[in-house]
């Protein structure tokens, strides 16, 4: 059979979202790939220019629907820098807690989707079951399962409910042995190892050259993690290790994400301990009214005119579950941000896909793309 082009998407079980991977195959071997994006381009950056600062948070949840908290955190940090607002201490800890919970939920979701791509059916259900427990926690303090609208420029919307730390610890106690079980189901299976070892190799220097970050980069041995390198929020005050692997293949990415989940649990326990003993305000006072926060307390400064807030540019970067995410918020003194630009990790990871797909079998596409953890919402924005 001669070479032929195969369209994998936009409706294809492999894509986990709305994109199209055009593959040229020779028999079962991949010769050339050409990803086609934009099926989910919703113009979030443009709509943000039409919204109040706090209203943009609504869009952030939908930008990456498996890591809403992380994107909220990214945006509010950028907006606070642009506006010159400092959130209270407790809010920073709650944000860190939320982001780590989100990382846990996102990685479990990734695990579920990834093993399903390999034909392993049961762990998908186990993953969804355990992820729901984390979503229940989110629901108890934000009211939402997926889209939270919880963080605010200048803090968070409301404090954690009574008895939250105990409830959260219960979930963490349940999750820890589950992670071992996940590992046994995958690494204990000979077929799984044979399907994943040596696939989708991308070495560390190639990763840097191509802008690939996150677990893909760390699986190649690099220790780059924004949480360690440029600690934001209160990451400098908690202990955790950066998970790395050496194999730079699908197995390596799997191991990195598994280890990251364990480290997240470690961070979460420390954050819960701190939050239990340090009550305080969670939203900065002296917030301008035009931020558009429905829950913002109306302080003395609430009626201040906007010219009292200087123009500015805010740059924030976080380690999102998928990798390095940046926000660039330009404040020109108006009620709306003048320009919001986001750097999505999956965008860069996907743009390099011809480097880690070509030369493998067509049956290797699902595990390799699964190990990239594609979230199309944040690629297309």
């Amino acid at each position: 059979m001669s070479e032929m082009w195969v369209n994998m998407g936009p409706q294809h079980p492999m894509t986990h979202g709305l994109w199209n991977l055009r593959v040229r195959i020779d028999g079962e071997m991949i010769v050339e790939v050409d990803p086609e994006m934009g099926y989910l381009h919703r113009g979030i950056e443009k709509i943000s220019e039409d919204r109040h600062y706090n209203e943009v948070i609504t869009l952030m949840d939908r930008t990456c629907y498996v890591a809403g908290m992380a994107w909220e955190h990214l945006y509010v940090m950028g907006a606070e820098k642009a506006l010159g607002i400092v959130p209270p201490e407790r809010a920073e800890w709650i944000r860190m807690l939320s982001e780590e919970f989100q990382r846990l939920a996102s990685h479990i979701m990734w695990y579920a989707a990834f093993v399903q791509d390999l034909g392993l059916m049961s762990p998908f259900l186990y993953g969804m079951r355990d992820r729901d427990l984390i979503l229940d926690l989110f629901q108890s303090y934000t009211g939402g399962r997926l889209t939270y609208e919880y963080m605010r420029v200048g803090g968070v919307r409301n404090d954690l409910p009574e008895g939250f730390p105990a409830q959260a610890r219960q979930v963490l106690d349940w999750l820890e042995p589950r992670l071992v079980e996940y590992d046994r189901l995958c690494m204990g299976s000979e077929i799984f190892r044979r399907r994943c070892d040596g696939l989708g190799v991308l070495k560390a220097n190639d990763c840097v050259r191509l802008g690939v970050t996150g677990p893909m980069l760390r699986s190649a041995g690099s220790k780059r993690d924004i949480r360690k390198d440029r600690p934001y929020s209160r990451y400098s005050q908690v202990e955790f290790d950066v998970a790395t692997a050496d194999s730079s293949d699908v197995t390596g990415r799997y191991l990195v994400r598994m280890e990251e989940m364990r480290q997240s649990i470690r961070i979460l326990r420390q954050a819960l301990d701190w939050l239990e003993h340090h009550p305080g305000p969670v939203l900065a006072d002296r917030l301008p009214r035009w931020l558009g926060a429905p829950y913002a307390p109306m302080g003395r400064e609430g009626y201040l005119l906007k010219r009292n807030y200087p123009k500015g540019v805010g740059l924030s970067a976080i380690e999102e579950p998928h990798g390095e995410a940046c926000a660039y918020v330009v404040n020109e003194g108006g009620e709306h941000p003048y320009r919001v630009k986001f750097r999505s990790p999956v965008f860069a990871n996907l743009s390099a896909c011809s480097h880690y797909l070509v030369g493998y079998h067509i049956a290797d596409i699902p595990p390799i793309m699964g190990s990239v953890d594609v979230c199309v919402g944040e690629v297309d924005r």
Partner: protein, 160 residues
């Protein structure tokens, strides 16, 4: 080595970086470097090789009505610092030399910036639509492009 505006300015001077207009301090990055767009192709290799900014995070454009701005966010693994590069382009035909020859990761970012903001990147290997359908002739992130409530439209579907 100091990674503030002074240090960056000194290192740029030492490496002989061309076309530097100003180096200002910037919160969240080592510095904000403004350069003239004509010297882009000479400046980028210097930043990557002499200063060690091997990773390009993103490329973006801003429409300031009277001019365009293109900014690059770089990261150095050795210094663990970001560096913000920006250049002003003229409003008529904004264009600049591509960075994708120096940092291959710029490829898609530049495609996006061209598509949404309308900044042209010379010698880009593959400057075609990324997010919008082929043949889409607007640049949505320009200030002249206004959003509005959707009119009550009737979509005619031709069944084959």
């Amino acid at each position: 080595m100091e990674w503030n505006a002074e240090g960056v300015r000194a290192q740029l001077a030492a490496a002989g970086a061309p076309g530097i207009l100003s180096v200002d301090p910037f919160d969240g990055a080592a510095a904000r470097v403004r350069f003239s767009p004509e010297s882009a192709s000479a400046l980028f290799p210097v930043l990557r090789d002499a200063l060690g900014f091997t990773h390009l995070s993103t490329v973006g454009g801003i429409d300031w009505v009277e001019r365009y701005e293109v900014f690059y966010l770089l990261w150095s693994d050795a210094a663990k610092r970001y560096l913000l590069l920006s250049a002003d382009l003229d409003a008529k035909t904004p264009h600049i030399e591509t960075a994708s020859t120096v940092w291959p990761s710029a490829n898609w970012h530049e495609r996006e910036a061209w598509e949404l903001v309308g900044i042209g990147f010379d010698h880009h290997p593959d400057l075609r639509h990324l997010l919008m359908p082929d043949g889409y002739s607007f640049h949505p992130l320009q200030r002249s492009f206004k959003l509005h409530e959707p009119e009550d439209l009737e979509v005619k579907v031709r069944h084959v």
